[in-house]
Symmetry: C2
Subunit: 305 residues, 2 copies
């Protein structure tokens, strides 16, 4: 099984209280791929400029990420520069240069149009809709979005949500989209539009998976040292969609495991800059952290006799 | 088994987006008792003014809460007035009148000095220390505190922490006390002072139980309607300490269950004003929510064959 991801492939410059990194690999498709590559094959569709250091994508290719759908266009690559203060909770965006990404129109290569698992990274909902019209009959479409699109492309975003199976967004975005402060109500409102499931990500506070009748919660893994939160959400999505693609199982039990894989992959992503940690983490470390996640939440509710 | 709680017995006036309540039962000892009374007997030590509506305590007495240690002094009762805005995340304090509480010196009746389970509610650390000197040999002392004391009574608070078994505080307070933004590091710092366990409460984002070697996390139960968050933390403490007192078991497995009881009792507390919901909740409802809490976090980490 493989996953098709459509999203940004960018260059990030990040400052945290622990150091800084310039022009390192970033973008939603990059983090997603690095994460999902531990679970499944990945095909990336996106665009970079002619200044992009293509050789830096080699380690991802070696991990089974296919960049045949990554167009290289004339002009500068998408660049983001951001800074995290002491508590690492939210990034302050210092600069965003869309570069060639501002004219991006997703062309899905013929061979990828029959992809069964699709992740629509956080891009203009009009592009996300375009991608869907090109796809044949995907088994599972998951999309992400952000505050900017909720504000500026609300009608298109609503139309998109009517066509996807699962949406991931953070708590602030869920409240903004639904105008409901209560997350249970917000999730129900979103499922009312069409998605079978909603994942509300709360950063360091974990993530909810809502189905029509049930709620599952996975905490963020409590790390003693968080280094750089950039890409945690996309790494979460990579673990989540990657695990579903690997198993081909959309039962609730499996979706729950997929959420925990998402949380685990997100927790590795934040241990170093860019995708560094995702490139070195081993199968054994992932398995260990899955076990640690279970220990973190396990209790028996019965009163002792 | 019974629990001794020393704390405030107050009158609260609260405004939320859903309504307002005036001069209703409030205070740390009140919420703690209402919650713990579902699990164990409770003895309250505190002070109220001669204006306190003592008859309103009758329902608590009927539930096994003993107010023999509640002094009634000349003067007005402790009153708090607060308001929650749309997101219910934090209270804006509009007025605080300490009244007779400003001259409170805890006198522990002789019969209560041999109490085995003690909860020191959020009061001046000098008073919390005074209480401890009066106690014989408690099995388990748990204390709570707040930002005000961390700032104004830091040396006394540190001295107190050297003498307690478990401390509960919220994430902001843990960061303020330890000057560490990372909660794992903050908890280790606090345990370095003496407490065997630290509980860091994150409100709607759940609670961590830290032991020397392990971390347990219990989410807040995701409610569709949160009515009034006042007293959630003390209700949590009541469920936690109450369950330990009921079982007399301080194994880690039992402490984990106790944290979940805390989370469950806190989730009931916020469903209505004051202690209203805690007065009507049934054993069956508590048991049901314990089961719901387990379903909320349960997953199997194994890859399918």
């Amino acid at each position: 099984m493989s996953v098709l991801v459509v999203g940004s492939v960018a260059l990030d410059s990040v400052e945290t209280p622990f150091g800084k990194a310039d022009d390192v690999l970033g973008g939603s498709a990059t983090f997603f791929s690095a994460s999902a590559s531990h679970l499944t094959k990945v095909n990336v569709v996106g665009v970079v400029g002619n200044d992009y250091p293509m050789d830096k994508l080699e380690p991802l290719k070696k991990r089974g990420v296919d960049f045949a759908g990554l167009e290289q266009a004339d002009g500068p690559s998408f660049r983001w520069r951001g800074r995290y203060s002491h508590d690492l909770n939210s990034a302050e965006t210092l600069e965003t240069h869309l570069g060639v990404f501002s004219n991006f129109s997703a062309k899905i290569p013929e061979a990828l149009r029959s992809s069964e698992y699709v992740f629509l990274g956080n891009i203009d909902p009009r592009l996300q809709l375009d991608v869907l019209t090109m796809m044949k009959k995907p088994k599972l479409v998951t999309c992400d979005t952000m505050n900017f699109w909720i504000q500026s492309r609300r009608p298109e975003l609503i139309k998109l949500l009517e066509k996807v199976d699962i949406v991931t967004l953070n708590d602030g975005e869920a409240r903004q989209l639904t105008e409901k402060s209560n997350l249970v109500q917000a999730a129900q409102w979103i499922m009312g539009l069409g998605p079978r499931h909603v994942i509300i990500k709360k950063g360091e506070h974990g993530a909810f998976l809502f189905t029509r009748d049930t709620i599952f919660f996975a905490p963020a893994f409590p790390l003693e040292n968080v280094f750089d939160p950039t890409g945690a959400g996309d790494s979460f999505a990579g673990g989540f969609v990657g695990y579903i693609a690997r198993t081909g199982d959309m039962s609730e039990a499996n979706l729950r495991r997929a959420v925990v894989y998402g949380s685990v992959m997100g927790s590795f992503a934040v241990e170093k800059f860019s995708i560094e940690r995702l490139m070195t983490v081993t199968k054994a470390e992932i398995t260990q952290r899955m076990q640690d996640m279970r220990r973190l939440v396990t209790f028996e509710e019965e009163l002792p006799a």
